[in-house]
């Protein structure tokens, strides 16, 4: 049995790591973007980010003051038992977010939507968000995400018709990304997640998971989807919007697409954007209490890259 205390201390460490240390795949992508960049101003922006990463590592300070929405995604072994079950897990996660807000510290960003009441601990109704899925594995794999407001602001949804086709899908993605990345609002270069199909909520959820749970450089195993990912990536970078919308070669660091079967009449499209300051940390807790850090989650496809 995995104790609530172990869950809580692990989740605390994951939020701390996510806030301060950029995952290697993201750091590498930013360094490459800097080296490739041909625009002066864009280079200054990317250099600022690289300098920031160094200061965060050295001083153990958060990478960005918008520590955003705390989110947990966990793949739970069907026979892995946790003290207190799912309710116990949720309680442990909330305790960890509260502790991380106080001790990392994270910014107390989460408030009541009507009254603006700030509980000062980033915990409230449906927050932190917790997504669980159950699989035949002998561990819980937990990923902590701090989802910044800049990226979240770029979210979009549209129900397209068959007549609009994938031309319409790409057009919607282009328009949405330009609208929200002009003048740097979505903090480009960022990571695009696209969900196609399902009901509106399912495709938004897939878009979010595609944006935050797949490492940079990962391609979908279905060649048709992988080719759409590459096409979207090229299309968006050809706009020349660049870092902070100041003109440059890299507008998005990667594009990830996930799909669900859907109603024959429609093509629902969800868009979710993750900040270039991609705050993510993953670990597995095994039944015997062993904790293993992982470089990225294996949420979508166990055994493959992501």
């Amino acid at each position: 049995m995995i104790s609530k205390e172990l869950v809580s201390s692990t989740v605390f460490e994951l939020f701390k790591k996510a806030a301060i240390l950029l995952p290697d795949d993201v750091k590498g992508a930013i360094r490459e973007a800097y080296e490739r960049e041909t625009h002066n101003l864009a280079k200054i922006h990317l250099k600022g980010i690289l300098d920031n990463i160094k200061v965060s590592e050295k001083r153990q300070w958060p990478l960005c003051s918008d520590t955003g929405y705390p989110m947990i995604f966990a793949t739970v072994g069907e026979e892995t038992s946790i003290e207190g079950g799912v309710a116990g897990f949720e309680e442990a996660v909330k305790g960890a977010v509260e502790a991380a807000t106080r001790r990392v510290p994270l910014r107390p960003t989460v408030v009541h939507p009507f009254t603006l009441h700030n509980p000062l601990n980033n915990v409230g109704a449906h927050m932190p968000s917790i997504d669980l899925k159950f699989e035949p594995v002998d561990y819980i794999e937990i990923t902590a995400i701090l989802k910044g407001g800049g990226g979240e602001f770029c979210s979009g949804y549209r129900t397209l018709f068959r007549a609009d086709g994938f031309l319409g899908v790409k057009k919607f993605i282009l328009d949405q990304v330009i609208l929200y990345n002009k003048r740097g609002l979505g903090c480009p270069p960022n990571i695009l997640g696209v969900g196609i199909g399902g009901t509106s909520d399912v495709c938004m959820k897939l878009a979010k998971q595609a944006a935050v749970l797949r490492p940079i450089g990962d391609r979908h195993p279905d060649p048709e989807v992988a080719s759409l990912e590459r096409e979207i990536l090229d299309m968006l970078n050809e706009t020349g919007l660049g870092p902070m919308g100041s003109g440059g070669d890299t507008t998005v660091l990667d594009a990830h697409v996930e799909y669900a079967f859907t109603h024959l009449a429609f093509i629902p499209v969800g868009i979710s954007v993750n900040c270039g300051c991609f705050r993510r940390a993953t670990a597995r807790i095994y039944g015997d209490g062993r904790v293993e850090e992982k470089p990225y989650p294996e949420w979508f496809r166990r055994g493959s890259l992501a």
């Binding site: 407001g149 282009l174 903090c187 050809e238």
Partner: protein
Amino acid sequence: MKKVGLKTPLTRGDVEGLRCGDEVYFTGHVFTCRSRFHIRAIDEGETPPIDFARYNVMFHVGPIVERLNEEWRVVCATPTMSPRFSKWTEEAIRKFGLKAIIGKGGFPGLSEVFKRHGCVYLIGVGNWAGALYADRIKRVKEVHWLDLGLPEALWVLEVENIGPFILEIDSRGNSLYDDLSEEIDENIRRVEKARGFEGFQYTSFD
């Protein structure tokens, strides 16, 4: 585009010498604010309890602060989205005599306001250099309106060479983003043409 170090409070001459694209660093003081500052100070007309003659650089930011032995310390300060303060911005510049605003995302349509009042607008690098900036914050000089919550409170920060910030709107009303938009719109037209989007219309259901 030049690198410029300025001491606060800024003078008219300081800001008039700045041009779009300059890399600017500040030494002296900046004060922070977000929406709730504007609501209280502009909509509700309550006078902020700080000396604007000394503090004329406004920083749109909700910093992360921690308390160490009775002292506050800022550990991260990333600029936040400025256009959402647009409706209060001219009044804030006029009322408090601001000479510079640091933020994120530009002020579409407000360049004339900056020109009229001799103020400039700057953006952060990459927009997530909050730890880098915090490293240049020497101490918290004053804090007011803590009842608005830590991110929304009015923090006066003593800074040493904080930057770089990129000059986005100069005191003549030029905007870096406006200057770039033609080139970017042209790129977008090219992308749309190459991808076959020209003339595309979504199925109408209205």
